[in-house]
Symmetry: C2
Subunit: 239 residues, 2 copies
């Protein structure tokens, strides 16, 4: 059992990349676990791969696309449903929820932890996710932690340092840890550049703005300006 | 939300088949979820399929063989490791444990429950499993139940009626429910007949014996007789 080894659920987005850098700064041996669950595009996975390569870290990608029919009510994997635009808090964003995604990922990461003698699993759920994702709440994380401690004869615990933090606070921490934000991916759409107007793009831009950190992301030229965003109070449909 | 709909984790073995018949007798609409996790043989899955067909039930099979490398320490999926013979309680049987199997299956069944508007997931963990499988204990089931109730905005609960019962008691219940035991599969080996001497075969034979019910299973002709079993107190290595 390696007390300083953790399995990180790693998407290649901002939050999990900051967590990766945090864990490394804390002396953890990190194994990254990325999941291909049949998303419409693989930009995030490519970013995850390239960051792991740069850091010489082991990354495993689990392909769950064979079970994506299970999750067919989500617009992220059902190509017949359009991806909603607008702020995360809006009702339309609820269709981006993949049912029970975090429990599935945590259960697989825990299996990997047992098999590779790590004693923790880490995930980057944060307080900004709570309103939209029930499986990012501390109450959920706490129950999963309890189940993970009981699923094997040796305890696996769930490391969730961001669960009480906002995305802006994570952004500030990442800046201090010199996270290469420009190499991370958030946009739900898989174009060359971030679209700048889908739920995760708006959340990303808002986090940089609130953290007072220059946003190094390259957005599509049609993207609304930060001034337009502020003016509409981040509600695109009022633009 | 269909209050009488449940997703059953269904292997095609004795215990989950008795649970299937119990749920049907209780008026549940049952959807069966079977998992191909890269087992060495598919006999159990074939039995599951044929019983579902006979009962005109929906059965979904999830193929997790793409993640079997995650679980590579288990002899059930690693073809380089021999399947141990002998009684379940023996130390050698511990190699048949697939890490975190139940949490993975429960997380997938919960996703399916959310997607198909069922409000419970059912699994057939029983007290005889506790010594060998940590993820069959009530404490584990209770934590998972708590996590399942929090993973979505609507509560999913974990139905585990056998968690305090022995396999012999399940066998007796199955007999009352007229479960076609001969159509179920237990043996870890995938030969034409049950080998009669691996861990699950011994457990199966012991359950029928203790329940005082005729065992309709057809065992290989090399299998030890029930008298030999009793004489050795179910310890094959003493034969």
């Amino acid at each position: 059992m390696d007390l300083k080894k953790t399995i990180l659920i790693y998407s290649g987005g901002m939050d999990s990349t900051v967590l990766l850098y945090l864990l490394l700064s804390q002396g953890f041996t990190v194994e990254c676990l990325s999941v291909d669950y049949g998303q419409k595009h693989k930009k995030e996975l490519k970013c995850a791969k390239s960051i792991c390569k740069k850091l010489s870290l082991t990354q495993k990608v689990i392909n769950l696309s064979s079970i994506s029919y299970l999750l067919s009510s989500s617009s992220l994997i059902d190509s017949n449903k359009p991806i909603p635009e607008g702020h995360y808090e809006e009702e339309t964003m609820k269709t981006t929820v993949v049912p029970n995604r975090n429990m599935i990922l945590l259960s697989l990461a825990t299996a990997r932890a047992i098999d590779s003698k790590a004693n923790t699993v880490s995930y980057a759920a944060h307080s900004g996710d709570h309103a939209i994702y029930p499986d990012c709440r501390e109450s959920f994380a706490k129950s999963m932690d309890a189940a993970m401690q009981l699923c094997d004869w040796k305890k696996i615990t769930l490391n969730r340092p961001f669960v009480g933090m906002s995305k802006a606070e994570i952004c500030k921490m990442g800046s201090n840890l010199e996270v290469p934000f420009k190499d991370t991916w958030s946009c739900y759409k898989g174009d060359t550049k971030h679209c700048g107007r889908c739920g995760t793009c708006i959340e990303r831009r808002e986090a940089f703005h609130l953290a007072g950190i220059d946003d190094p992301t390259s957005y599509a030229k049609e993207a609304p300006s930060i001034e337009q965003m502020l003016e509409s109070n981040w509600k695109l449909d009022e633009l």
